[in-house]
Amino acid sequence: MGILEVKGVGKRFGGLQALGDVNLSIEENTVHAIIGPNGAGKSTLLNCLVGKLIPDEGSVTFAGTSVLGRKPHEINQLGISRVFQTPEIFADLTVMENMMIPCFAKRDGAFRMHAIENMEHEAELIAKAEKMLSDVGMLEKKDMIGSAMSRGDKRRLEIAMCLVQEPKLLLLDEPTAGMARADTNNTIALLKEIKETRDITIAIIEHDMHVVFSLADRITVLAQGTPLVEDTPDNIKGNPKVKEAYLGETQQV
């Protein structure tokens, strides 16, 4: 029994069957990659996991709890954090404030006023946020405004914001899309370090095979809205079905 169990999930948009009968089980403390050609339904699947979309059929269970019908913020509180394709941070806030918000969210669980309180009194949360920032090597940038940072730094900050919540499952949606080579390598190194030093399950959607093969323990290949094969990276490399799925795509292009 994995930490995340997806059973028979399907989703239609009008006449288009985006997902059909998806079964997926992600084991605790592994890195599980989901790959597939464009339009395979990777993003749709991810959106079904975090509550942005509601599947038409099937079930999604996280750590024994069904996530279906829950709002995105409730699902996050269950312990699923999401990193977006384009880094989603609070661009108008400082790096430190960006970190404090997930700290509050984790501690309070839901809406709390804290209207007259002083930020300086939250020493425990501040220490936690600073520790996390130094872990990802961004402590010296803590007073910078989010929008002033490079894309790589934004990504790093976003990952730190997710990690400071100590999620059980971290979802990464093409974390290196649109990045320069150096930034990509930094991100891979960071993710490897996270994988080795923390008790965390990571699910990653990725296009870049270099990223996938350097991180993943298991890989699911999605094609036309349904899982084609699930195996270890080494076996996936030699699988003819996978080649066909990708080659089919290149021929169309």
């Binding site: 913020h73 996050n76 661009a91 918000i101 309180e117 989010g146």
Partner: protein, 407 residues
């Protein structure tokens, strides 16, 4: 001090000092001198500045921090006034229960209206708040006449019960007071050829305004204030961080509604009548103008905006052609007439034209408002790059992202 950092404390102390010495500061020109029309019309004008300052500071908590542009905040001002006048009629002429009730009632209305309006954002939110405010306005004129006294407006009358004050004596209406000290009492002091007036009503409004301002500073610097800025910055990230933005925006809406109610209650405390005109959408537009003019999202901006607009309104409406003739009498005749004609369009009756033009200029060239203007000026004078306070830094990044283009 007061749980504020050093900078904010200094800031607050300056505001307090300015307020205390207002009667002296606002009368720089001796009575009867040619420049006397530039004296701030104390105490009426200064009361208005304090009260509308409260209104704008409250509006800024919603608009400046969360980016939700409400076009119906005047409704809460009007509701506050009605509630306060009812308190004067039924219970006592003491202003304390009246403004408390004003805040509670407008808070309840804000909770209901906010709960519905905040289900939408962007222009839809603006239109919803506008629709609710217009509804309140129209209902005050029609169905709710028993409560609002329709077009005449709600006023005191001799046969009001006033349970706590007992039967009214004599044939004149009682005046609002604070524990027996009448609001319209003034103490005059003559010195240096000037007459300085210390007015109870003004000091009362000023003390309330300072408290309101202090609360706003605390709120801006608090984790709650940070959450509100996070709502403005990126709701998607907020949701995926496990926080529902709605209760935060609703809390901000209710707080700013209560500020508006407080301002409305104070208006009634200074002059115990309430009319539906206070709820008209142009009144809502006015508080938006004040906030933007000063600088939305900054602490001092709304107060500055309220002060500038109320001061200019007072001064400009007082300048008539006679005054202009005095000023420009040194010019040759034909030129004098031309200059006076131009100035006359913008003064007196033409005050609204000045307001509109100022407003357009500020939005076009100084989107951060006067605070940003002062900052730029300061920077140019000093030439150096001082470390800036992020709260008072209305850089373009701080403003709401332009809405998605029509897709």
């Amino acid at each position: 001090m007061f749980g504020l950092n050093k900078k904010d404390t200094t800031f607050l102390l300056i505001v307090i000092a300015l307020t205390l010495f207002t009667p002296i500061l606002m009368q720089p020109f001796a009575e009867g001198s040619g420049l006397a029309q530039f004296n701030g019309g104390y105490p009426d004008l200064m009361q208005k500045v304090a009260i509308f300052g409260i209104f704008a500071v409250g509006f800024n908590i919603l608009f400046g921090l969360t980016g939700y542009l409400s076009f119906g905040h005047a409704a809460f001002l009007g509701i506050g006034s009605y509630a306060a006048v009812w308190m004067f009629k039924l219970l006592t002429m003491n202003v304390i229960p009246a403004i408390l009730l004003a805040m509670v009632v407008s808070g309840i209305f804000a909770a209901a209206i906010g709960y519905v309006s905040l289900r939408r954002s962007g222009i839809y939110f603006s239109i919803l708040t506008l629709a609710f405010a217009q509804m309140c306005y129209k209902m005050a004129y029609s169905v709710l006449t028993p409560l609002t006294n329709g077009e005449t407006g709600l006023q005191l009358s001799l046969d009001d019960p006033r349970v706590l004050d007992g039967a009214s004596e004599g044939h004149s209406l009682p005046v609002t007071n604070i524990f027996g000290l009448p609001m319209n009492a003034s103490y005059k002091l003559e010195a240096l050829g000037h007459v300085f007036t210390f007015n109870v009503g003004f000091y009362f409004s000023a003390v309330i305004a300072i408290i309101a301002f202090y609360v706003a500073i605390r709120l801006f610097r608090s984790p709650f204030g940070m959450m509100l800025r996070a709502v403005k910055s990126n709701q998607q990230r907020m949701t995926y961080t496990g926080l529902d933005p709605k209760p935060y925006t609703l809390a901000a809406f209710v707080i700013s509604g209560m500020y508006a109610g407080l301002a409305g209650g104070l208006l009634a405390a200074m002059d115990p009548l309430a009319g539906a005109d206070r709820m008209l959408w142009t009144a809502s537009g006015e508080v938006v103008i004040m906030t933007i003019l000063g600088g939305a999202g900054t602490l001092m901006g709304p107060v500055l905006g309220a002060g500038v607009i109320k001061y200019l309104e007072n001064i400009f409406s007082k300048i008539n052609e006679g005054v202009l003739h005095q000023w420009f009498s040194f010019l040759p005749d034909g030129l004098e007439d031309l200059v006076i004609w131009i100035f006359a369009r913008f003064t007196g009756e033409g005050w609204h034209l000045t307001l509109g033009v100022t407003f357009m200029l500020v939005v076009t060239f100084l989107p951060g408002g006067l605070i940003e203007g002062l900052k730029r000026l300061n920077k140019r004078i000093k030439g150096g790059s001082k470390k800036r306070d992020k709260y008072d830094d209305p850089d373009p990044e701080h403003r709401p992202e332009p809405g998605k283009h029509v897709a």
